[in-house]
């Protein structure tokens, strides 16, 4: 059994929170450059140019690429042979607190959804803990902006709607979201599980790098088919019209009840911020 002090989690989260907000991922940069090359709309191309220039400024000047530095969505995968000594939620929250303060990141969390007083330090994180083989701990943070998160939707379908029903639901969701989630987006899709697990699958799919396909060819093909249909919608960069509406579509699935076909859509803006560290 490998013992890992909880402080190690705090340090990792602090560092990742800052880097996720300053440094656009290589996968995203490549996708935006490819999008710039294939976009037919002149306004769309200019928007993508601005985003590439923005990424350069943020990385060079060490400032957040977007003022919405997000809700800290954190995934911690703990190896069966690893033991974290201490309170994991507290360690993650402390990392968020330190990272958002030292990195001059915006504090965007209210402590209560109806009375809406800002917590002042961007805590708590939205933490998911999972158990995996091995003795490592993998920490991922995705600062989740409000604009894209607000376009999420989950629905319990009858199994009869099948594959086509899922495609129609996802494509329609992107269409209805239009300009709001800061396209070109990454579309996260959860299929199966229970109502709550399905939404989490959709969120988890956004932690995958752009361009990486689902390991199951059936789902990999589904991702590409949805991507093609989404990019035929004409929404384009910032919704002003164009070919590049999504940079990628990621699907995750899980076994579900014989009566159910849950589907959830969770979108990421064009920055698709996510950073991972292995401890």
């Amino acid at each position: 059994m490998r013992v890992i002090p909880a402080e190690r989690i705090t340090e990792a989260i602090k560092d990742l929170a800052i880097r996720a907000n300053y440094d656009l991922g290589e996968d995203v940069l490549t996708a935006l450059k490819n999008g710039r090359d294939s976009e037919e709309s002149p306004v769309g191309r200019e928007i993508l140019d601005q985003l590439l220039e923005n990424a350069e400024i943020a990385a060079k000047e060490r400032v957040p690429m977007c003022q919405d530095t997000g809700y800290a969505a954190v995934f911690v995968e703990i190896g069966h042979d690893a033991f974290i000594e201490g309170d994991i939620q507290a360690a993650v929250d402390e990392g968020v607190r330190q990272g958002y303060e030292e990195g001059y990141l915006r504090k965007s969390i209210v402590g209560d959804p109806l009375r809406r007083k800002n917590t002042g330090d961007n805590t708590p994180a939205a933490l998911t803990v999972e158990f995996v083989p091995g003795d490592k701990v993998t920490v991922t943070i995705a600062p989740k902006g409000g604009g894209s998160e607000n376009m999420s939707m989950a629905r319990q379908f009858a199994p009869a709607v099948g594959r086509q029903g899922v495609i129609d639901f996802v494509v329609n969701r992107v269409k209805e979201s239009g300009s709001n989630p800061c396209p070109p987006v990454v579309v996260g899709v959860g299929i199966g599980g229970t109502f709550d697990l399905c939404a989490r699958l959709a969120k988890k799919s956004l932690m995958r790098d752009i361009g990486i396909r689902h390991p199951d060819p059936f789902y990999a093909e589904l991702e590409l088919e949805i991507l093609e249909q989404v990019n035929n919608l004409g929404i384009g960069p910032m919704g002003l019209g164009g070919k590049v509406t999504a940079l990628d579509v990621h699907v995750e699935y899980y076994p579900c009840h014989i009566a159910s076909l849950p589907v959830a859509v969770n979108m990421q803006c064009h920055a698709a911020r996510h950073k991972t560290a292995v401890i």
Binding site: E40, N54, P64, D68, Y104, C182, G234
Partner: protein
């Protein structure tokens, strides 16, 4: 960038009339920054018949909540936030003479009706281009609601702030036109 119109704020009624959906514009001059909670407070005051902390007539409001400024910076990163959340409040402010709004994402029917009736224009800035936009801000001060932190009401002066006319004062809508042009379904 040579095809961009340069416009000096505050907007005149003629500026508003001349701007058409799809126009690329560089804005320079003073504007206000406010988002959800600042709008709620302004409209609450209006409904209570009380005076507003700022004069709205002829002004432009940018829907944004900047990140904290680092030492030496005028302002932190400050891209636009999604505008539909301001839809419940904007018509009342447009009726008071608000002439320009900057945000991202399409506006609803009631806002468009107010824009047509009173003469106002809606621009989109590029969502997520927040570090780039910060470079066009030359001064910043909090003018009200400091307790709201990132949502406080601010006064900025900008120089060559790049925006696009998304919905104009004649009913033109670049979101609809753009999708029509590029959709393949």
């Amino acid at each position: 960038m040579s095809d961009r119109k340069k416009i000096q704020l505050p907007l005149t009624p003629e500026d508003v009339k001349d701007l058409k959906a799809g126009d690329r514009v560089l804005l320079s001059g003073p504007l206000y920054v406010g988002r959800d909670q600042a709008h709620q407070r302004l409209v609450d005051l209006l409904e209570a018949g009380k005076p507003l902390p700022i004069a709205i007539e002829g002004e432009t409001i940018y829907f944004a909540g900047p990140s904290p400024a680092k030492p030496g910076q005028v302002i932190g990163s400050c891209g636009p936030t999604t505008s539909y959340r301001m839809d419940p409040y904007s018509p009342a402010l447009i009726a008071l003479g608000l002439r320009g709004m900057i945000g991202k994402g399409a506006r609803g029917e009631a806002v468009v009706e107010a824009m047509l009736e009173h003469g106002a224009v809606y621009f989109t800035a590029v969502g997520g281009a927040a570090a780039l936009i910060a470079r066009s801000v030359t001064s910043m001060e909090v003018v009200a609601y400091e307790d709201l932190g990132p949502e406080a009401l601010r006064r900025l002066v900008v120089e060559d702030f790049p925006v696009i006319v998304a919905q104009d004062s004649h009913g033109g809508n670049q979101y609809e036109d753009g999708i029509k042009e590029y959709a393949r379904m």
